[in-house]
Symmetry: C2
Subunit: 368 residues, 2 copies
């Protein structure tokens, strides 16, 4: 992987050079991981033309981090050291003659910014903005392979749960069970807290599991996603508990299913980022379900659970090839519950078979 990470750092340097900057100081954890493969807690990465340097602060315990991987795969010209971000900048100014340094102002705290400015007084600081986040949008095949494995793990965990008895168990218990199963199947961890909503809680995005118990006749909505080698996917399914769903449940599920399919089928390179969301939203709107403050039905996903691009109704920009995105419309009826169905797919051209579905658990209305 060293070569891939080095190539990413080269692309970053090209962006820096084009903007008149000599070097970049990366502090966002996902960006550090993307550029090095390493995820030490609180690490900063300095990329200059001469070398890449990772600062591992000695005072931050790994427990604050979710995971801790020592930098084993930085290429030879790189180094890792227990030192301060500010020291790193000072070193670069002295040794690599860095005069114009790009920093991630959306991530760097004011305190650390001041420390860098103080320790490296000859260096002018500029805002790198979300340059690395933009580099991360289109995934390479290795990244997509990791996402596929993450999706398989989530599908396995969900499949096992569906075979067990659900009535009488609490949302919190089911959520923890799914997290444990994902880890058992090889996940680094759950990519985000598993959401389980039953009865009136079903159909909500990101419902926090409660002590409510699953009852006969409930809708049950589960959102989960494993993280594998840093990469996370998301899927959401809604089932019904008991022998036969009620008429309104069948109808609502069919509507959300169709809306989600319309959104999925709209995914293609070159398509505006707003199109999938609009396709689903139109279908739900025609059936009378409109939101006052629409929340996007989808977004990019990868090293972060939610990353660029956003797929909201008012987004600008177009979809690119090899961008993994979530597509997850839903309807929630206050007091009654609802349906949400969400997949992670990779945008691919028609010539390659169209969007690649990663989260393959059935989207039918299973009666459990």
């Amino acid at each position: 992987m060293s070569d891939a990470h080095a190539a990413r750092r080269d692309r970053l340097l090209e962006h820096c050079s084009a903007a008149g900057m000599d070097a970049a100081l990366i502090t966002s954890p996902a960006n550090v991981r993307y550029l090095t493969g390493c995820t030490p807690c609180g690490a900063s990465l300095l990329v200059t033309r001469e070398r890449a340097l990772l600062a591992l602060p000695a005072d931050l315990p790994p427990e604050d981090n979710g995971e801790f991987v020592y930098p084993v795969d930085l290429p030879q010209q790189s180094a890792a050291a227990d030192q301060d971000t500010a020291e790193l900048a000072a070193m670069a100014a002295a040794a690599d003659r860095v005069g114009e340094l790009a920093v991630e102002e959306h991530d760097l705290t004011v305190r650390r910014y001041r420390e860098v400015a103080d320790r490296a007084p000859g260096v002018r600081l500029h805002d790198l903005g979300r340059t690395v986040e933009r580099l991360r949008v289109v995934k390479d095949e290795q990244e997509i392979a990791d996402l596929r494995i993450a999706a398989e793990i989530g599908d396995q965990a969900l499949g096992e749960l569906l075979e067990s008895i659900l009535v009488g168990r609490t949302e919190r218990h089911l959520a923890m069970e799914l997290e444990r199963r994902m880890v058992d199947h090889g996940a680094d961890r759950a990519g985000f807290p598993v959401s389980v909503g039953t009865g009136s809680h079903s159909g909500q995005a990101d419902h926090r599991p409660t002590d409510r118990r699953v009852e006969e006749g409930d809708f049950l909505t589960v959102s989960l996603g494993a993280q594998y080698r840093g990469y996370t996917v998301r899927s959401t399914r809604t089932f019904v508990i008991g022998a036969a769903p009620a008429g309104w449940q069948v109808e609502l599920h069919r509507l959300v299913f169709e809306a989600q399919r319309a959104a999925r089928e709209a995914l293609a390179p070159g398509v505006p980022c707003s199109t999938p969301d609009r396709a689903a939203r139109e279908m739900l709107g025609e059936a009378g379900y409109r939101e006052d403050r629409p929340r996007p039905f989808g977004h990019g996903i990868g090293l972060e659970v939610r990353e660029a691009p956003q797929l909201g109704p008012s987004e600008t920009g177009k979809l690119d090839n090899r961008v993994p995105v979530t597509v997850g419309p839903g309807v929630h009826l206050p007091g009654r519950g609802g349906v949400r169905i969400e997949d992670t797919l990779v945008v691919r051209p028609v010539a390659e078979g169209g969007p690649e579905l990663l989260t393959i658990t059935t989207k039918e209305l299973l009666a459990l």
Copy 2:
């Protein structure tokens, strides 16, 4: 709880006034929670003499947060709104005549800082530093009651695990099992990823669980802590697997047990923060166990797993009454494993019975 939170905000304002500042903008999540009882994701709290205002950014999904509690208990003069931190500052400048605003430079990003400065051009920004963190050091009895419950939950989960068969199970599986059990017993969640280390992994602080399976004759080190109403404790125990521990295991366990006891017994109001660590370290040093880069054996704990004060060998400052701290020395022998024993205790004066032990699971060398 409204009154308690309002009183905390009043104390913060006193600090601000004494430093010539009219208001404070709080962005650190633990600090927002301490001052409001609310934990929405990415919220900012503005405290002026006239009112307290919580900004809930509309664009941040709750999933990015661990938990999401709507601000139900802000007193009447307070308000919560979907708005930007910068808008909040601009509002305060206009309505509350804020001229000098304290911000948390150790938490605020450069980008948000610039936005505030742009939107509220008449306002001068100053660094609040870790003022709120300092207010949080000494806990009130309600906070200690929550910590006691958190400790009970962890003890229950660990107790149940010790009654089950451990040989053949992986570290990762055992860790997930403990996290699930804590949630079953009423925890908000695990306060930090449970650490399970067996065999050569035992005795390490913050070992990340692997797929290594528990074997006969292993040392098994478990670190866990439930979070309850936001408050976390930590405890670490080391057991031995099989009928009879080896001689070196008995000896090493006894040494760490005695070192940990020495550190615990050193806890008292007015005692230097370095004393407990030194008491343990001296005992380990006399037995030949010295670290090149000593990592503090303890620290404060509460809304954050690691907070002020640090209890390292070179700390300055003194312990206060009603400060919960961890005390967790250990010895790790590379390739062989080791022992770590850690408790959370509340500093109390001798007149009140001395340090209050929260994590009461036995520290004996159980053979499981």
